[in-house]
């Protein structure tokens, strides 16, 4: 558990001051992180890709599964680009790809690997160790799965509106890593 927070924010991202960021976190460009979102890098650094949307009360927690106690190499949680973490979702997966949507109040357990284009429906609890295939859609109370045709459409309109509205109402952390 690192006691120092190292947060690197790329150019164009809007990170609210009220969000809880702990540990070694790298946030890509054009991301939007709402207030009261929590990104906790307990077991190792988290690298978030570009154009991700992390809404209020979303929790991205990188912790080791309890059966693997401290090893030498610190695993890195790499989150791809164009992901959406909706309100109050809890994501503890060990690897996340691109273009995924984690709907409100879903819970993704520790041992899952999410690939690209997946949609985890609202309220679904996934705890079984598995790798979700590309474009998997999980929905319903009993976490039924189906395969979508292709990845979900990125929500550019919403991101644009937010990037204009959020600075008017919240204090922001300044990006500290310039694009090279």
């Amino acid at each position: 558990m690192t006691s120092r927070n190292t947060i690197k924010i790329h150019h164009g991202s809007i990170v609210c001051e009220e969000s809880k960021l702990r540990g070694d976190i790298t946030i890509g460009s054009n991301c939007i992180i709402h207030p009261s979102a929590a990104i906790i890098a307990e077991a190792g650094p988290i690298i978030i890709g570009d154009c991700c949307l992390i809404e209020e009360q979303a929790k991205i927690i990188h912790r080791l599964p309890f059966d693997q106690s401290d090893k030498e190499n610190t695993p890195v949680l790499i989150i791809g680009s164009h992901n959406v973490f909706e309100v109050d979702c809890t994501v503890e997966a060990c690897k996340i790809g691109d273009n995924n949507i984690f709907e409100s109040k879903c819970y993704v357990g520790n041992k899952l690997t999410i690939t690209n284009g997946c949609i985890i429906g609202a309220g679904c609890r996934l705890t079984e160790e598995q790798t979700l295939k590309d474009n998997t859609i999980v929905y319903g109370r009993s976490c039924q799965m189906r395969e979508g045709l292709d990845r979900p459409v990125p929500q550019t309109l919403q991101m644009d509106t937010l990037s204009k509205m959020l600075p008017n109402y919240h204090h922001l952390r300044k990006p500290n890593k310039k694009n090279q």
Binding site: C124, R125, L126, T127, E128, Q130, V138, S142, C143, M145
Partner: protein, 374 residues
Amino acid sequence: MPLYEGIGAITDKLVVVIDIGAAYTKLGFSGEFSPRCIIRSEVKCKDTGRVRNIRDYENAQDLYDLLVDFVHMLYFKYALLSPKDRPVVIIESLLCPTIFRETLAKVLFCHYEVSMMLVLPSHLVCLAPLAVDTALVLDVGYTEAIAIPVCHGLPVIHAWQALPIASQAVHGNLKTLLTACNTGINSISEWTIEDIKVRCCFVTTQKRAQEFSKATPEITTCLEVKYPLEGSRTLTIPGKVRETVYEIFFEEDNDHQCMSTMILDAILKVNVDLRIKLSENIVIMGGTAMTPGFKNRLKDELYKQLKSDRYSKLKITKFKFHSPPSKDNYTAWLGGAIYGCTELLSMKGLSRENYLKENRLPDWANMKDNLRTL
């Protein structure tokens, strides 16, 4: 108001056709070619709040209450019709328990006040969509498999054969086989087991089944399936289980009976001159018969049984099967729908006044209905 809508609306006889099975109920209207809905035969019990199958009754009063709620749901949620003063067609098995059919009649006539009820035996009416009058009908449902031959439009009831080898037995077998490689199988609901059975399992060929029955089978089984259960765990369904769960249909029990012998025994009990015709007109119906590979395997088993000694008297050489113009799980319903749109309903149906006089349904087992008028 149903009365003042104009004569034109009322002369259009909307007859509800219901086939209540042990697992699923098929509901629709006469004159149509498929049921409107196929729903589970269960209803939420008002006292306990649990969902109960209508066949799990404790006594006649309990069954009455369950059927009242069930028929209420059928009419007001699915058929969207008032049951009062309208005719209804009920399709039932010839071996339906008397308490069930009498309670159903009481519910429909006394509680819901239908005007007329026509009760049709499923083995007979399923021949209507085929336009044949002689066939051997095998109905593989949920609780049991029943084979009854129908000759010249009359079911030959004395040749009936029934065995409890149907979906319920398969579910039990599946649970037993899965407990060997998974934990917590007993907590899985019946409907999840049915889903596993429908999506993963099938009836394998005779050759492969013979290999599996050996102590050390030498063939590669089909691939296993990982079945996710509610996001929290996964069941493993091994390939051998997928192929052999239906073997209980074709393994002879202590009385040396199984599905293939059932058909041949039924044919044996019929007159010699009709046997060839029956063997060349076999109709298989029922939801369980829709399993992939079932009909093919049944055909192979029939030919195999024919070679054994006890069927040497049967001079049958080939078996021919009908394919009805419907899915197997609603063939009987379709026959009932065809019967329901003819004038047979008004001719042979039991009207409310007659029911209230007699207070019972006419039954083939009751001698009072079997006396021939001179």
